[in-house]
């Protein structure tokens, strides 16, 4: 990379459960509020930023230029260009890398990477047969042709279709896929509930010490992550019924992420731009890799980041012992636990083409301010939540501290990145 790319700030709105306090807010509303909060905190009102890259997983057809429209609604200069990207649950990390790469190449001096999702305001589609009939009717040249098209509409065509979080090639939901992985790796209910409880307790502690004061802007009377349950415990979580994996399943609503609403953004820049704008760089973007697995042939849907992690560390000449903090996105508690098990597994790692096991890590260095189980997971926003959180944590630890982010995504994909405090 030619230019050093630094994370100089971030902002998000508190995340909340779908159908909760943001039920009436659109992705446009939440993304605009997030951008404006970042602009207000960093003093960028009226500023032309090099580029804003954002995205949403659940997207209305009218929102094809969601990010650009949010920029126009925001206090940024209207001459700030923007584009939409989508990499499922890793969107916020993919937008970060897209802009970091452009900054590294000298194409940009500054950029805002973002992600937003509203499970409350999800688009609802018409059935495919009805859609085809409507399109045919719109192409009809005569009233008779139009009538003939409409005459084929049947009551069963009229049921609206809400988006499903299901894999097109397997028909399994993400939870059902993860239930297979959970069983395959022998992840216990106790481990999952323990990880979920720790996520809530660590997030609560981070809020209590004011860690999020310069990372979160209140929105619609919500000042703090609304899914967070500081008083939850392993005992309470143990009482929940299985949600995935059948009656003997170990995955519950407590150790799986909730459908969420929220938005997050990261401010990236060259060191020179940061200095000119009196902003303190927190961490530099070192490297990243995107990866995929063959889940239609049975590979674990959410373990694609494992291969990327091994290759990325090797490319940088690092091992897990050189990493101070780990951020593994908690799609499900068992995703994190299966990822850690895979990192330790010599045969599995060799099977991915790595030289050997990635290694064992100290859990005290993992998700130290909690993660998606406690914060919530508005799909596209999660990566853009994690990047500034980790950058600030590394900055607190001092120059040279390294952190690794691993985010799994639908389609058997994932993105992994390394940051280093400056």
């Amino acid at each position: 990379m030619h230019h050093k790319v630094v994370v100089v700030g971030g902002n998000r709105i508190p995340f909340a459960k779908a159908g909760g306090p943001y039920a009436q807010a659109s992705s446009h509303d939440m993304l605009t509020a997030t951008l404006d909060g970042l602009v207000a905190r960093t003093g960028l009102a009226g500023e032309r930023i090099g580029e804003v890259a954002g995205g949403a997983v659940l997207k209305h057809p009218n929102d094809f230029n969601l990010t650009r429209e949010a920029v126009l609604s925001s206090a940024l200069a209207p001459e700030t260009p923007a584009c939409d990207l989508q990499q499922a649950c890793a969107t916020g990390l993919e937008t970060t890398m897209y802009l970091a790469n452009k900054i590294a190449l000298g194409q940009l001096e500054s950029g805002i990477a973002a992600g937003v999702d509203s499970a409350s305001d999800a688009p609802i589609a018409v059935s495919d047969p009805l859609r085809r009939i409507l399109l045919e009717a719109s192409r009809a040249r005569t009233a008779k042709q139009r009538f003939a098209a409409f005459a084929r509409i049947r009551p069963r065509h009229l049921a609206p279709l809400a988006p499903r979080v299901a894999e097109p090639r397997t028909g399994l939901s993400m939870g059902e896929h993860q239930a297979v992985t959970t069983t395959r790796w022998g992840i216990t209910r106790e481990e999952q509930d323990g990880l979920a409880a720790a996520s809530h307790h660590r997030l609560a502690a981070a809020w209590d010490r004011g860690f999020f004061d310069d990372l979160v802007t209140p929105y619609l009377r919500v000042a703090k992550d609304a899914i967070l349950r500081p008083d939850t415990s392993v005992e309470r979580l143990a009482a929940l019924k299985p949600a995935f994996g059948g009656p003997d399943g170990t995955m519950t609503a407590g150790n799986s992420t909730a459908l969420s609403d929220g938005a997050a953004a990261v401010l990236l820049a060259t060191e020179e731009w940061a200095a000119a704008h009196h902003l303190t760089p927190w961490a530099r973007v070192v490297d990243a890799e995107v990866a995929a697995v063959d889940h239609p042939a049975g590979a674990d849907l959410l373990l694609a980041p494992v291969g990327a992690t091994g290759r990325l560390l090797a490319r940088q000449g690092l091992t897990v012992d050189d990493i101070d903090l780990f951020e593994i996105h908690e799609a499900f508690a068992s995703t994190v636990l299966a990822t850690l098990a895979a990192w330790r597994d010599e045969d599995y790692c060799r099977g991915l083409g790595l030289d050997g096991a990635i290694g064992e890590i100290d859990r005290a260095r993992l998700n130290v301010t909690g993660s998606s189980l406690a914060v919530g997971h508005p799909f596209a926003a999660t990566g853009a939540r994690i990047v500034p959180t980790l950058a600030k944590l590394l900055h607190e630890r001092g120059p040279g501290s390294r952190g690794l982010i691993s985010v799994c995504a639908a389609g058997g994909q994932g993105v992994v990145a390394i940051l280093e405090a400056v």
Binding site: Q24, A25, S26, H28, D29, T32, A33, D36, L72, S73, S74, A75, L76, P78, P218, Y219, L220, R221
Partner: protein, 285 residues
């Protein structure tokens, strides 16, 4: 000037006062109430704010639009003009202009004290003019002020009408076209709770000399402000002249020209030749 203030327990329901306000003014001498009406501790309904924002084109933010606070004061307009001490009625009174000032960003979480009084009754060549002066306060601090000027045709006020300067307008090509659907009046009624049937009923519109229902002037004002979102500071003043009503459905033009400290805007016919609404917005320095 000290005024009597009648403090109401809550925003008046759209009941008796509304019914009275909806009876058109009878020609005669114009009288307005000398008292102000006030409601304290008005909590803002987030769902209604969200619906209002969708209809008017605003992004749903923590800071609320100035026009939203006007909508919150509207029941007090109705209450005041529905009072027996008023010979001027809401229906048949034409909204001629607005001057609205936001002194600082107001969030949807802040409870408001709202107050409206009628003043400035004055002769006009076509009848009488008056101002409904609204104020919103948070903990005694005035955060919003709005002056709505109405023309009541056929009513008399002693004195000579002073000449009213026509807003200057030079035709130009619109920068944007807005397509106003036939049901826009109904949709805006649902969020504004302004039941004036002139906006929703063809029959009522005809009774007042319009071929079709006309969109609320406050919608057009709000839509024009929404077009400037992100460009105007949280503290600002907007002055609006309602030049000519927009009959629904319609396609109208919009244009904004930068001016020192803000913008001069016009909502026009789609060819840009004639204005419907003229607005100047200035950010507080």
């Amino acid at each position: 000037m000290s005024l009597d203030v009648e403090v109401l327990d809550a925003l008046p329901p759209m009941g008796v006062a509304f019914a009275r306000a909806l009876v058109p003014s009878r020609p005669g001498e114009a009288r307005i109430p000398a008292h102000a009406v006030r409601v304290e501790g008005v909590r803002q309904d987030l769902d209604r704010l969200a619906a209002y924002s969708r209809v008017c084109g605003y992004t749903l933010r923590d800071a609320v639009p100035a026009t939203w606070i006007h909508v919150l004061t509207f029941p007090l307009h109705v209450s005041l003009l529905g009072d027996r001490r008023s010979s001027v009625r809401l229906v048949g009174a034409v909204h001629a202009s607005n001057a609205m000032t936001m002194h600082r960003a107001v969030t949807s979480a802040e409870p408001l004290t709202l107050e409206v009084r009628a003043e400035g009754l004055r002769p006009h060549t076509r009848g009488a003019m008056l101002d409904l002066v609204g104020r919103a306060q948070v903990d005694g601090e005035t955060v919003w002020e709005g002056v709505s000027t109405y023309l009541v045709a056929g009513m008399r006020v002693p004195g000579e009408p002073s000449g009213v300067a026509r807003e200057p307008y030079s035709p130009g090509s619109p920068l944007a076209l807005w397509r106003l659907a036939p049901d826009l009046g109904r949709r805006y009624r649902a969020v504004s709770q302004d039941p004036n049937p002139i906006h929703t009923s063809r029959v009522a519109a005809k009774a007042f000399g319009f071929a079709r229902p006309i969109i609320h002037g406050m919608w057009t004002h709000a839509r024009a402000m929404a077009a400037l979102e992100g460009r105007v500071g949280p503290a600002h003043t907007a002055e609006v002249a309602f030049v000519k009503p927009v009959l629904l459905p319609a396609t109208v033009g919009f244009g904004a020209t930068p001016a020192p400290g803000g913008f001069d805007c016009a909502v026009t016919t789609r060819d840009g030749l004639k204005p419907h609404l003229l607005m100047s917005v200035r950010s507080a320095s």
